[in-house]
Amino acid sequence: MNGFDAWAKAATDPQRVGEKPEALSGLRVLEHCPGHFGGMVAASILGEFGAEGIKVEPPGGDPARGYAPMGISIAGTGLPFLSEARNRRFVTLSLEKEMGREVFRRLAMAADVIVTSESAERMEERGIGYAGLSRGNPGLIFLALSTYGSFGPHAGRPVKDSDILCQALSGAPYIVGEPEGEGPPQPHQAPTKLGNWHGWFVEGLCGAFGVLAALHFRWETGKGQFIDVSGPEGLMKFADYNITWMHAAGKARKRVGNFDPAVFPYTYIRCRDGYTFIAAYNDEAFESLMTIIGRPELSKDPRFSPPANRVRMENEQALLSILEEWSGNLTADEILRAVEDYTSKQSGPAAAVVTGRVNRPLETLADAHWRERGCFTRVNDSVYGDLLLAAPPWKMSGTPARVKSVCRLPGADNRDVYGEIGYSPEEIDSLIARGIL
């Protein structure tokens, strides 16, 4: 290996991020996304790279703090909020009154980026939208997150953006899940949602990407801009060739359970201790896999060769049965070893046999590999206690991303933040007394 892995570890070790600068230090991000998780993701991603985030909550706290799966809440805040509240300061502000909107405008004049999940049209109506604010701050980058976007025939549909709406309209659930069989459909034979808030996550991630592209443009031109993200459109791209295939063949992707219309084998197979993923879809890799399972003759079987035959649904089903005859007696680790023993002696396309156990979350957590790579972080917060969080996913040699704080109570940073934009302690007291903060 030329010692590359040792060099790479030394260069990107997350334990040493404190010694290094941050990519986006000095970038001020103002986040106004009540009840919206996607906006938190956008701000978190920028914050992990060093942006200085300020989250504006309604007085009393953001409704998203109340999202509490399994009823678990810590100091009034549920676990989803705590998972995306890192690296920012927390202020409260009521935008219901003009006095509060004036405070928001002053915050916006000192900001580089605004992230909002409120309707762009409604923001404009209230004098805190992009067109108004950018007149005083022409470099402002204004990110609006919504279900249908801010323009187009459906932009006016009155919905409150949520993960399930983003998922439904993205086309993802449509192609996830079991198809209907004979007889009345079973409850699970339905378009199936991704288990996490993936729609919301991708919406926020698209937003962060757009902000950084706009930042690049601002460096070249001095100009800010309005960024319109429709959450479903982010995840829509992940369903890859849906549009192109429709155009070229008039065909749309369908639900095929754990099968795949383009590549096979590319599926989960039952093994002695659960399920594992197995893929070997190009011809050379398929031949490797048939050798590994002790059935080399099958690589020339007309059901499975050429690849176009291999992806016929009845042949995918036949091949799955053959694979499970082999895997049923093996553990996922034994399958991994068998694959690695064989592929380590191959190169190029013949080595493309790929496997990996379908882990429950606790199994992922227990894996020494992720622990060594600092993939999770445990933080003991004075308010929220002991919290386990996913760390930033990137390891970077120059300006590594990092987690610096977990969460703060609503309004915890009011005095600091409002002081910085010129409010005296007396004025801040007065705003609190009037219910603006």
Binding site: I72, G127, A168, P173, P187, H216, T364
Partner: protein, 443 residues
């Protein structure tokens, strides 16, 4: 409202002026001037560069001569359109295609010269492969200290699993815990039927590349970005980890219910499926009113079974109409066909009507996000192996025709194999438009 606020009409006027599709071609590009070299196959690396290319980066995709990226041969139901797979087209827009065999020294040198003139290198080979070949980050930064090097892989560039273990999208779905929380409680874990582990990680990689470019403006220095696609998926699992940390328990599969925002979820209706969403008390009250009105004013609680009974007897359109009246949110569960024909998505350029110089009209997925000043765009779709060799080697590296011939003779550079997926479309006579395209329009 302050007098200088444009108000409601002001926003509409702004949006109309900011986002007309016809104006996009004449507007500047956000990432113009950024050059990206891609040495990657299948999805994770190519999708990363596709994101950057949509916003104006110049992406040079380096493939092996003849067969090229193996993704060229991944096609739904074995279908090729004008000799190309729809799956490859949708991943490789706005790129320049060159073919270099980087194994011989001349190939390495050619690749290094491209990297010298570039800002970003993206690869997704097994960890350490590029370094072993002498064209990894450690070697390239000697020639170009500003280079930003995105090393995309399954398990990362270091750590116990980094050596030798290959990965695809569904490896990341499987080992991260993502699949274990997707699907129904009484059924096996469900693999997402699309390459979510690749695309999610690709967008995270593209985002980190932009952050590294921002850092380079201050420091002048490049860096290496090590991104594991499994770690990317781990990062997306919201409350899974604090829940495991606090309770010592696994988050369970919950089928089509969003257990955080009950009774939000996907429900069967008379003509398909509909997503019902109630994010706050106001929406829950609206949904409750709708359910009560439906069942003659009965009380009871807001449970999924009741929502299911409510939607089962109605069409999706009826549920949407009722949701707007009652004050909760709903949306249809749609697939590619509905999206392809959706006037909203076409008006937004999310279904992008491309007129490609080689292939003619081909509709593709268009850019997300939408930027008002420097919008993303699709300029052309993927091309045959080595299609832009002369342009890149000649115009960018200054190679003469004779030098290129010599490199081609030594098989260091090359073009397409005579195979569907790699080669150009057959020439069409005048007045003979592609049949498949016509039939698609009828459909």
């Amino acid at each position: 409202m302050p007098s200088d606020s444009p108000g409601r009409n002001g926003f509409r006027a702004f949006a109309e002026a900011a986002f007309p599709l016809a104006a996009i071609a004449s507007r500047p590009e956000a990432l113009k001037g950024i050059r990206v070299i891609e040495l990657a196959t299948r999805i994770f690396g190519p999708a990363t560069c596709d994101c950057l290319g949509e916003f104006g980066a110049e992406v040079i995709k380096v493939e092996m001569p003849l067969r090229g990226d193996l993704m060229r041969y991944v096609s739904p139901e074995g279908f090729f359109w004008k000799e190309m797979s729809p799956a490859f087209l949708s991943l490789n827009r706005n790129k320049l295609h060159v073919a270099i065999d980087v194994h011989p020294p001349e190939g390495k040198e050619l690749f290094t010269r491209l990297a010298e003139k570039s800002d970003v290198v993206v690869e997704n080979l097994r960890a350490g492969t590029m370094d072993k070949w002498g064209i990894g980050y450690r070697q390239l930064r000697e020639r170009n200290p500003g280079i930003i090097y995105a090393a995309n892989s399954g398990f990362g560039q270091w750590g116990p699993y980094s050596q030798g273990r290959a990965s695809y999208d569904a490896t990341a779905q499987a080992v991260s815990g993502f699949s274990a929380i997707t699907g129904f409680p009484d059924q096996p874990p469900m693999k997402a039927g699309f390459w979510v582990g690749d695309y999610t990680a690709a967008l995270l990689s593209a985002t980190a590349i932009l952050a590294a470019l921002a850092a380079r403006r201050r420091t002048g220095e490049g860096q290496m970005i090590d991104l594991s696609q499994a770690e990317a998926m781990i990062r997306t699992l919201d409350w899974t980890w604090p829940y495991a940390g606090r309770t010592g328990q696994d988050r369970r599969r919950a089928g089509n219910q969003d257990v955080t925002l009950p009774p939000s979820g996907i429900y069967r209706c008379a003509d398909g499926f509909v997503a019902v969403s109630a994010r706050d008390d106001e929406e829950r009250a609206g949904l409750f009113r709708a359910l009560s009105g439906d069942s003659g004013g009965e009380g009871g609680s807001l449970v999924p079974e009741r929502v299911a009974r409510f939607t089962a007897a109605k069409t999706c359109g009826e549920v949407l109409r009722i949701s707007e009246e009652a004050g909760f949110s709903a949306a249809p569960v749609v697939g590619g066909r509905e999206q392809y024909h959706d006037p909203h998505l076409r008006a937004r350029g999310t279904v992008w009507e491309l007129d490609d110089p080689l292939y003619g009209r081909i509709d593709e997925f268009g850019p997300c996000p939408k930027l008002s000043e420097s919008p993303g765009r699709i300029k052309w779709t993927a091309k045959p192996v080595g299609y832009h060799n002369e342009k890149v080697f000649g115009e960018l590296l200054g190679l003469s025709a004779k030098e290129m011939e010599e490199l081609a003779r030594k098989k260091v550079i090359g073009k397409w194999a005579d195979l569907p997926g790699a080669r150009p479309p057959e020439a069409e006579g005048p007045g003979q438009p592609g049949k498949t395209e016509e039939s698609a329009r009828r459909g």
